[in-house]
Amino acid sequence: MRFNEKELISLSRQPSERAAELGMRGPKKGDVVKRRLVKLVVNFLFYFRTDEEEPQGALLLEQCRVEREDSLAFSITFLDEAERKYLFECDSQEQCQEWIDSIIKASYEFMRKNLIFYRTEIHRLTGKDPLEQYGIEDETRFQVTSGLQLMPKDI
């Protein structure tokens, strides 16, 4: 599958609030913990081999489960498959929790749900649809039904 690699690499170079060297272990049996520069940009988690300009990989942070593993580690599971569980080791409990929170909040779907909540609430409290002022009230992605787990054809 083709993707806009150069553009994604450029994205990975943007300054990030959440970037640190962590221990990272891949999902496969036999994978060991390796030091990687892990960087959160929009809803992607980039990871770099230390001192390399270009990221080794990019993980899309959607439809994934983030869990605390122990005092210093968290994991991200994709596709609900144990064989796609990545482990990350932090230097402190605080850092570990901050990473978990950041990753959860980075998800586009999480943000969409928040938006729909605010839109509904503001409309309920004020009688006005706050998206009208931006002219985006008809955009599919901001519709109230989008917050529910419906199949696309139901929308």
């Binding site: 439809q63 779907e109 503001i122 931006y134």
Partner: protein, 275 residues
């Protein structure tokens, strides 16, 4: 760089909503010929394949840091392009069969980026706090906005804005006092980010689940809406009786400032002129 295709394709096929789909013509690289492709827009990702029923995806375009603009009609098609900002970065040439298709795709793509949504959520969060305040104390108790890592959202927003800033055009550094309202003006297409303060979160250690909402404490009485906490003291420096009046005033200010900076802008994000 490895992109972990399976994660992307899984996201595409899962139950979260598709934001737009349909046939578009895509310009083949380095030629000027078009190929008809089925496009699916979900979040900030634009997938394409030959036909809707195809299992095999041809490709995906991550929509961060690109400007979308209409182009001159080509061969009876209504063309538009996605221009990625940065040296050596691509421009994708796309076209719709009719003007309505062109307009709706351009609009959908303009509002697709993570950066844009982040700004929008932040702005609406503030409007929500304001609306609650104005509704009176009875309302404030009904919805328990929970403290905790909620203020992390501002931290996140700063990340997004920083990541946007090199791609988007910044109107000027003096955005702070405007708070949410300068953002609200900027959310009119084209979106241009403003600055926020970084805020550290208090420490917590509950177990969290990514796709089980909400994460910040007790669920609201209905639905599955998550709670996000914004500190109302963070960006609001003025309080006004009527939200609408303030927006009007700030719009006027912003328009004035924008005119001053016009010469510094390379181009509009939406280019409606024929070229």
């Amino acid at each position: 760089m490895k992109i972990h295709e399976k994660i992307l394709t899984h996201y595409l096929s899962c139950t979260s909503p598709i934001d737009k789909e349909g046939y578009l013509y895509k310009k083949k690289e380095r030629t000027s010929s078009y190929q008809r492709r089925w496009f699916v827009l979900k979040a900030n990702l634009l997938f394409y394949q030959e036909r809707p029923a195809d299992r095999h995806l041809l490709g995906v375009i991550v929509l961060e840091g690109c400007a979308v603009q209409r182009c001159e009609s080509e061969g009876g098609l209504f063309a538009f392009s996605m221009v990625f900002r940065g040296s050596g970065l691509k421009t994708y040439g796309l076209a719709a069969e009719d003007q309505l298709g062109q307009e709706s795709w351009v609009k959908a793509l303009l509002t697709a980026s993570h950066c844009y949504l982040s700004l929008l959520v932040r702005d609406l969060g503030k409007q929500y706090e304001e609306a609650k305040r104005q509704a009176g104390p009875a309302e404030s108790h009904q919805r328990t906005t929970v403290t905790g890592p909620g203020s992390m959202c501002l931290t996140q927003s700063m990340t997004y804005l920083n990541s946007c800033s090199s791609s988007f055009l910044m109107p000027g550094p003096e955005r702070r006092e405007g708070g949410s309202h300068s953002a609200s003006n900027l959310l009119q297409a084209p979106p241009i980010p403003s600055k926020v303060i970084n805020k550290r979160s208090p420490k917590h250690w509950p177990k969290r689940n990514a796709h089980v909402t909400p994460i910040n404490g007790p669920a609201p009485p209905y639905g599955e809406w998550p709670q996000v906490d914004f500190d109302p003291l963070e960006d609001f420096t003025k309080l006004h009786d009527y939200y609408g009046e303030e927006v009007k005033q700030l719009r006027a200010d912003w328009l004035m400032r924008r005119q001053e900076e016009e010469e510094h802008l390379e181009e509009d994000l939406i280019d409606l002129s024929e070229h």
